[in-house]
């Protein structure tokens, strides 16, 4: 006996089901030769190559795609047989649709659609849900249909759902951005524009309608590749962003927008650990004029001093690409650990401090030491932090260690040369101009005191939280630090050659402990820089700055 082709049994089953259903209703099955079809709101097709519209039609009150559109888009073969059934084939797999039936056979398995396929003239239409329920199971690329957003996503694209609301909060406004799934983001401000760049391929946004003449917030929009752009109003002053997890998979960014202080009136402010230029600079936390009420002024913006001394940080995830770094006995690679911690630290700093953070690599790339340092130099970074995991010839060694540059024979000479690098050059029209020339190999020499201070802060922050090895803090001639023209430190977070510590370094909890300690050290270093600036420039933003703040709670 000739074997039946696949799907034939399902076809018979469907036909029998149709007959039975029709019999129960006392009507004979019939095809509606023509349907009333109206153009619907198009979907947006998202692929790795970009966006494009995908037309829909309203057929009998259902959103439908033209089957011919889907066929050309996804390379499907459509065949209408004599029984009136439609066979949709893709690489040997079949979907069988039966007129007037909502049950569909997908490679022999039955699934249900909200409406039967419909014919209008020579075209067939299928409910939009056909893509997710029938086509996706047989297609070799992931397909995701989001009817609420009218999105059809093709491929492994990261397209988080971003829902934005804005509400008054005291004298200011609070913008709440819910992100699902949780996606790392970078918040930057340029004048009256806030940009929230997500580490994603695109966004699935729900934006609130706001008045273009809004005093604090006047617009929401998105820009490629995955950036939410918030236009601030003319009365917007300081902003502060905080990030938090919501449940296991979602995240939330809250941005407080404070009104700008009017002349002669201090900015509404609660305890502000950092002095602001508004006179007089308080030596103690400023008290609100009236007792704080639940609806009273928002807390101050401790993460955003008026002229921040720390504006850009470059974090260097050590190794990468063809250079895996240390390999633990269980196979953990240093390059993966450094990348994971760097990403978390970047998110923590940006969301809480509003400081620009750049990573020397965003993926698994091979970089030279000079490429890492030059990224920091070219972006005029104020701080360079290289993250590594250590190795020892003895497998029992464990603990973190912090390194800053040490120069031997040429140290004093190099420092002198670096400090004497400014040269007076004549300029056209008379006079002269001071040009700072810093030899690459000496760039770090003049920052060694600041680098040492930062290294000590990290060591201090690690104590009691992240175990340190017996040395803790070491000066060494490290290649990646030499060319950094700013305070620079290398942190070895632990020994991957120790099996216990290898397991520890791979856990989210331990990585988070390291991130929190590094974050606290960065806050402490920012205060240190502010204090230094204040001493050099009395009356400037650093006036009255406290001693390096207590690590706990600083800037939080």
């Amino acid at each position: 006996m000739t074997p039946r082709p696949p799907g034939l049994a399902a076809r018979i089953l469907l036909f029998a089901a149709a007959i039975a259903a029709a019999g129960a209703l006392g009507t004979a099955p019939r095809l509606r030769a023509a349907q009333a079809v109206r153009a619907g709101t198009p979907y947006t097709l998202l692929t790795a190559s970009g966006r494009r519209p995908l037309a829909t039609s309203d057929v009998r009150g259902h959103d439908m795609f033209g089957l011919d559109d889907l066929a050309s888009l996804f390379q499907l073969q459509v065949h209408e047989d004599t029984l009136g059934a439609l066979t949709v084939s893709y690489k040997g797999k079949t979907i069988i649709l039966t007129p007037e039936q909502t049950l569909v056979s997908v490679n022999g398995r039955l699934v249900s659609l909200p409406a039967p396929p419909a014919r209008a003239g020579r075209r067939w239409f299928v409910p939009v849900e056909f893509v997710g329920r029938a086509l996706a199971p047989i297609y070799d690329t992931p397909l995701e249909l989001r009817p609420e957003s009218r999105l059809l996503i093709v491929g492994n694209l990261r397209v988080p759902h971003v829902s934005v609301t804005v509400a008054p909060a005291g004298p200011g406004a609070r913008i709440t951005i819910d992100i699902r799934p949780r996606t790392p983001e970078t918040v930057t401000r340029s004048g009256t524009e806030l940009r929230i760049a997500f580490q994603a391929d695109d966004l699935d946004p729900v934006l609130p309608a706001v008045s273009s003449s809004g005093a604090l917030v006047r617009s929401f929009s998105t820009s490629a590749p995955a950036t939410l752009v918030i236009g601030l109003g003319p009365q917007a002053g300081q902003t502060r962003a905080t990030t938090q997890a919501v449940g296991a998979t979602a995240g939330r960014v809250e941005i407080d927008v404070m009104p700008a202080a009017s002349p002669g009136q201090p900015q509404p402010s609660a305890p502000a650990p950092y002095p602001t230029p508004t006179p007089p600079a308080p030596s103690a936390p400023a008290a609100p004029a009236t007792p704080a009420a639940p609806s009273g002024p928002l807390p101050g913006l401790p993460g955003a001093p008026a002229q921040p001394s720390l504006q850009t940080i470059v974090i260097d995830p050590g190794h990468g690409g063809s250079d895996p770094g240390v390999k633990g006995p269980h196979g953990t690679l240093e390059k993966d650990i450094t990348m994971a911690v760097a990403r978390q630290l970047k998110a923590a700093i940006e969301s809480r401090l509003g400081v620009r953070v750049l990573l020397t690599r965003n993926g698994d790339q091979t970089l030279t030491a000079d490429e890492r340092a030059s990224m920091a130099n070219n972006n005029k970074a104020d701080l360079f932090l290289s993250l590594h995991a250590n190795a020892s010839f003895r497998s029992n060694v464990q603990g973190a260690e912090v390194f800053y540059l040490g120069l031997d024979r040429d140290a004093a000479k190099a420092t002198q040369e670096a400090q004497a690098g400014a040269q007076q050059l004549p300029v056209f029209g008379g006079g002269s101009r001071t040009l700072e020339i810093v030899p690459w190999q000496l760039a770090q020499a003049r920052f060694i005191p600041e680098s040492q201070a930062f290294a000590q802060m990290i060591e201090q922050q690690f104590q009691g939280k992240v175990p340190l090895d017996a040395r803790g803090l070491t000066q060494a001639p490290l290649r990646v630090l030499v060319g950094a023209n700013m305070p620079a430190v290398l942190v070895e977070m632990g020994y991957l050659t120790n099996p216990d510590q290898e397991n520890q370094l791979g856990t989210a909890a331990y990585q988070n402990t390291i991130v929190q300690a590094l974050y606290a050290a960065i806050v402490q270093f920012r205060d240190y820089l502010t204090h230094q600036t204040g001493r050099q420039n009395p009356g400037g933003p650093g006036t009255g700055a406290p001693k390096p703040a207590s690590p706990q709670g600083a800037g939080r």
């Binding site: 050590g318 190794h319 250079d323 770094g325 240390v326 390999k327 240093e334 030279t368 030491a369 590594h388 995991a389 250590n390 190795a391 020892s392 010839f393 003895r394 029992n396 060694v397 260690e401 390194f403 031997d408 024979r409 040429d410 190999q441 090895d469 017996a470 040395r471 060494a476 001639p477 490290l478 290649r479 990646v480 030499v482 290398l490 070895e492 020994y495 991957l496 050659t497």
Partner: protein, 206 residues
Amino acid sequence: MSRTRLLATAGVVVAVGLLAWLLFARLPRGTARPPASAQPAAPAVAATAPADEGRTITARLFYVADDGLHLRAVAREVPFGATPVDQATALVNAQLAAVQPPLVSAIPTGTTLQALYITDKGDAYVDLSPQVSQNHPGGTTAELLTVYTIVDTLTVNMPAISAVQILLNGQEVDTLAGHVDLRRPLQKDLTIVQTGPPAAPTGKGH
């Protein structure tokens, strides 16, 4: 009587001190047949002179300390080299030789010395085989130990050598494993060496 005894004791102490100075500090340089300045770039491997058969010096070689973070000095007998280059070659070869537990070497397995040069300035160039990088476990601490095993072996045992630059396959390199800057000669660093007297001799070097 007691004055005579005192003088005799002092004489013995001075004599012992002089002998120690001759053995540990002066001997390698002082016995070099051509002065170092006369052979600024003589490759050691090619110029290995027949050393006096069986003659040795007691050198301080460096191995990984128990804490895994430092080096510790171990006194070992190393073949005598008639020239600075010969002596430096003997020292590096002794340092590269495999060791038995409890000693742990910071030199990756398979590393060999390909050439050694000493300049007029006292900078030694030690050309190692690629295994020193290929077989290295990585990590700043391990790399510091590897580099300063070589640097300190030469600078501690040979006063004529003031700094050491490690080459790989005859080429200058940035680092061995991504951390320690090797683009220029490195000076002796005793902060990485665990304090305390060198451990007792454990036998003759290779």
